[in-house]
Amino acid sequence: DAMVIQNPRYQVTQFGKPVTLSCSQTLNHNVMYWYQQKSSQAPKLLFHYYDKDFNNEADTPDNFQSRRPNTSFCFLDIRSPGLGDAAMYLCATSGGGFRDSVVFPYNEQFFGPGTRLTVL
């Protein structure tokens, strides 16, 4: 089945120790998103890619970086995790979008199961 896969499902890291979360998709979607979700809060968009075009949210800390080496994979790097970065990290994909004044067919976002990050 086509799906969005996140690894690992649970990640424990130490304060300040870099960590990388991965997301892969078999949906061949051109848009990939990274969200941070803290307990009882809405998912907060960190950044998203349209193909290789990177879109950073203005309030995403510099501590968070992302890479998308190809259509299928996207990585979230947290360079120096702090206690406040403990959260669920959700990857999502979407097909279509809007580019160069042309509206493509627009679809829902498909979420992966998430990676729960604990910072000690």
Binding site: H48, L90, F98, N107
Partner: protein, 113 residues
């Protein structure tokens, strides 16, 4: 640009109805609705595009009034499986990038037998 959802929480008996509202201060192109169960990823329910349409999914339907910048999710004859947190995600009017959604804080729905 975060939309406002109301109510924050709803408790129902099986078979009862509920309405969840989502309103934005910005002109909208689309509204998404998702349901998230505890410890799981959000699951898509439906999209409503600009045009005032109403959609249905089993006994869950929604409406979108773009003039009022509001959407409502209607759950009829609720089932135990409807329990979870419902999020609306709003997409600002075209001019912004590619399917970027702003999620509301969520409405926690609990259905009791």
């Amino acid at each position: 640009q975060q939309p406002v959802q109301s109510p924050q929480a709803v408790i129902l008996r099986e078979g009862e109805d509920a309405v969840i509202n989502c309103s934005s201060s910005k002109a909208l192109y689309s509204v998404h609705w998702y349901r998230q169960k505890h410890g799981e990823a959000p699951v898509f329910l439906m999209i409503l595009l600009k045009g005032g349409e109403q959609k249905g999914h089993e006994k869950i339907s929604a409406s979108f009034n773009e003039k009022k910048q509001q959407s409502s999710l209607y759950l009829t004859a609720s089932q135990l499986s409807y329990s979870g947190t419902y999020f609306c995600g709003t997409e600002p009017e075209r001019g912004s990038t590619l399917g970027r959604l702003y999620f509301g804080r969520g409405t926690q729905l609990t259905v009791w037998p």
